[in-house]
């Protein structure tokens, strides 16, 4: 994916129904996927863990958005977003219980529209809750891509 093309999630980016594990393991899982895709070097995973020590990336409503520190920006090649769903949740550094862990690596700003779509999908607690347990990766994907099948998003 090159140039300024809008970043879109695909099915391969979504991992549903994962068993509860530690925050570090969850970071290693999503970070490992970013590494495997050649977007970041393995050291990025350490940077993601460090970032949690500086300031938690727990967003609220059961969602965490782990990413590297500012210093890691220059080691990122392109954009990567992967979503891991934990129906039973996991303790996110004592800040909250994460049911959706969204691993991110982005050097530029082309991922910002995607972040906005994700924000729209999770800002309502009830809607976010449905995503915690939704067992259809395609549906999850649709919600996060801003093309949700439900039309009640305007209510907010």
């Amino acid at each position: 994916m090159g140039g300024k093309k809008r970043v879109q999630l695909v099915l391969e980016d979504v991992f549903i129904a994962r068993a509860t594990e530690s925050m570090d393991k969850a970071i290693e899982f999503v970070g490992g996927l970013l590494v495997a895709r050649g977007i970041v070097p393995p050291t990025y995973i350490g940077s993601m863990k460090r970032r949690e020590e500086i300031a938690s990336t727990y967003l609220g409503n059961g969602v965490a958005l782990p990413h590297g520190t500012r210093e890691s920006l220059e080691e990122i090649e392109g954009v990567g977003v992967v979503i891991a769903q934990y129906p039973d949740g996991l303790d996110w550094g004592g800040v909250g219980r994460a049911h959706l862990v969204i691993g991110l690596a982005a050097a530029g700003t082309e991922h910002v529209p995607l972040l906005s779509a994700i924000a729209d999908a999770i800002q309502d607690e009830d809607q976010a809750r449905m995503l915690w347990t939704c067992d259809d990766a395609a549906e999850l994907l649709a919600k996060f891509s801003g093309v949700g099948c439900r039309d009640n998003e305007k209510l907010a």
């Binding site: 300031a55 990336t57 967003l59 609220g60 958005l65 800040v95 972040l115 906005s116 607690e125």
Partner: protein
């Protein structure tokens, strides 16, 4: 890159929804503009923010969505009341 950017956008939306003519911008804590009035900052970075801009009101938050401190801030701004610094 991620969470703080999302937090900025959420606050922008809330400010716009409240019809407030207030500029909201994203800034790393080490690069705060010296003339900033209010700093909305993650709790763990709030002391750093205060020392970077001692005259600004600091509003620490824990969560990027539905944080009570941020809701309170918008209500205060809407009422035209001064923002009280938490630090």
């Amino acid at each position: 890159m991620g969470s703080s950017l999302m937090g900025t956008n959420q606050l922008k939306k809330l400010v716009k929804k409240a019809n407030l003519d207030i500029a909201v911008q994203h800034s790393p804590v080490g690069q705060l503009p010296p003339d900033v009035d209010v700093i909305v900052v993650h709790r763990s970075l709030s002391h750093q923010a205060k020392s970077a801009a001692p005259n600004a009101a600091v509003v620490p938050f824990t969560m990027f969505f539905n944080d009570p401190a941020v809701k309170q801030l918008v209500a205060t701004l809407k009422a035209g009341e001064p923002v009280v610094s938490a630090l």
